[in-house]
Symmetry: C2
Subunit: 426 residues, 2 copies
Amino acid sequence: MSSAHIIFDKTGDKVAHRVIKMRTSAVRDLFAAASRSDIISLSGGMPDVSLLPPSAIKKAMRAAAEDDRAVALQYGSTDGRVETKQVFCDLMRDIGVRCKPAEVMITSGAQEALDLIAKAFIDPGDIILAEGPTYLGALQAFSAYEPDVRCIPFDHEGMRMDLLEAELEKIGKGKAKFLYTIPNFQNPGGVTMSPARRKRLLELAEAYDFFVVEDDPYGRLRYDGGHVKPLRALNDQVVYLGTVSKVFAPGLRTGWVVAPKSFLAKLNLVKQGTDLCGSAFNQVVVQHYFTDTPWQKTLQKFVDTYKTRRDAMLAALEKYFPPEATWTHPEGGFFVWVTLPDYVDTGSMLSVALDKGVTYTPGDGFFPNASAGQNCMRLAFCFESPENLDEAIRRLAAVIEDQLELYRAFIEAGAIKATSPEAAQR
Amino acid sequence: MSSAHIIFDKTGDKVAHRVIKMRTSAVRDLFAAASRSDIISLSGGMPDVSLLPPSAIKKAMRAAAEDDRAVALQYGSTDGRVETKQVFCDLMRDIGVRCKPAEVMITSGAQEALDLIAKAFIDPGDIILAEGPTYLGALQAFSAYEPDVRCIPFDHEGMRMDLLEAELEKIGKGKAKFLYTIPNFQNPGGVTMSPARRKRLLELAEAYDFFVVEDDPYGRLRYDGGHVKPLRALNDQVVYLGTVSKVFAPGLRTGWVVAPKSFLAKLNLVKQGTDLCGSAFNQVVVQHYFTDTPWQKTLQKFVDTYKTRRDAMLAALEKYFPPEATWTHPEGGFFVWVTLPDYVDTGSMLSVALDKGVTYTPGDGFFPNASAGQNCMRLAFCFESPENLDEAIRRLAAVIEDQLELYRAFIEAGAIKATSPEAAQR
């Protein structure tokens, strides 16, 4: 019992069943590696906060230190400050959604919203629908509650509604709890759901009785094409998730949910036990950023910068990548999804890439239980300069070329069978 | 499907099993009522942040807006910033605990730590031990994972070890997952666990194979008596929870866990899905508050102020409360626990008290499934002035007196049986 003894943790056998299948995030593990200064990182989806004007940060923080200090430092209500909710209602109006503060709950980033929805609605074995591949943080949030996640493939118009309908037909009406989608510049796919598919998705939700969770972190980062109306603008039963992480700063951990009041009441109940309430301090800073600073001008700077980087990455892929590779062409957001022949394993290739000074995110992390995507990778263009992106893609192409060369010899010898990238993407 | 129709939430039947038994917090419901200006609130455990010097707040925030801006605004690691962890190691050293940053994880208040521990370790039906009554936020955090919480009564020396041992004897070795305790100035009890009982608790943990979670939000707010060594100082397998909410500001939502590294690895795994990472911004502010400002002087101001308020409340209880009532005499913290004869229902009495301009927290919320405590109440002395505390207790005594008068008549007539407050506390 004495602290003089070295005693190791003896709680290994006490871990809950839900934890046994959890996987640590490859992205997060890579953040550590990516801190080596010679490595160019295409792995993390980190916004470039150096674009934020220091004067705007100071101005937004002044309120928290002065006028609103008493509120900012104290406990707040579980659902968040009404003044900050009003700011989010104004942001929603810009993108075609009308809502009131009573239909808004503030969360610790959209990630907490994913956890609260899963906690309030998923029983073990419940069927959840999502794009496949999809955001790995959503898979992590859901997995704690042990659902059966069914992945629906996408193409350049977003989730394939014919495949969704076939899956629903198999599952039956009322058997899926909800569908999770990132309709704009999907993570990791980069694709955007077309207006026609959005309409169809909502028809299927009605017909097969499931609710839709629309995650929209990148919606305001569009570089080409016109705005597509959010699902929530078409149907007020849709649960919409927003965040300031990509249009302001992730360090504030502030997101929001727009949903029917009775839905929010359930999230409120589970949030009380999860973290009591969010940071009033951060909510005050966010409120003042969106009311006292020229944030639209700053957002335009983000858009211009990321557009240049996306263009640089797409040009470099065209220039360096082998003909066996295909990739998506995002109109916004942070990511390009690359598909290689299915005999390439992007997981084991990562250590070689790291050695050559470039990182990416292997594709299998974006599928439940790494059930697919072994030949795919996510490339983030948001954080590096155009010059670095060109150099990173050049390095990565060389790594891939080495892998392919070996396999081409095997294929020529008839030892393995060639597959098309399209087939591999399924 | 059109948004022109008013459609109500249709997800009521989709809620997860774990939510069905959850109760909303009476304390949180009361926060709303307590905002009426004529009401004196004895319900919420809110620190008096008006005691914080504005210059210290500004100084702590300056770093987040200037030198450390890039880090403060960006995503951070799931376990928290090492610089802020070091600050917490220094705070731990002050109270007799040696630990390294690698043994620390930063959480969104200690509340998130409770959720993460429950998420990582509780399977439905698992036995958890705790003081009864105990912190209702802990009961809420645990209840999402559907444990069987066994409550052990306390007296003026804290949790009754004879009763704990009897319970363990009944349960058997290796059958309880963990024991949750607030050894210093317990919430809601106000009692402190004696050194002898702390030693005995750790012996029982070893003998019956469960781990101990030590929640210590109030440890540095001691008004009388000498410092008692934390459980973590006696055994490095103890999981210690700290928070800045009571010594700095709850609006920053910053707490920490000290535990063996392999234990923290499990919390890290579940935290990735829960909220990805905490607010780097808040961690920078907290770090600089505890390094760049005279926080010890500010802490002394908190201690002096709360001591005066505790004294005022205890004096008022002595002056106004009826002989049938008993209450605890806390040496620190925020709360006094009052026990009334068991025919008094503090839940139904609350509306009468509100009407007379005073609030408190009914006792049953501090027991799992409101299984006891109906004749008890928690009184918080932390937030009101000594004058207001005297007036609040005067008002509350009148409400209680009205209830007792009625029952005394019944007892005299032999219609109901009198019970001692001691028996009622069980």
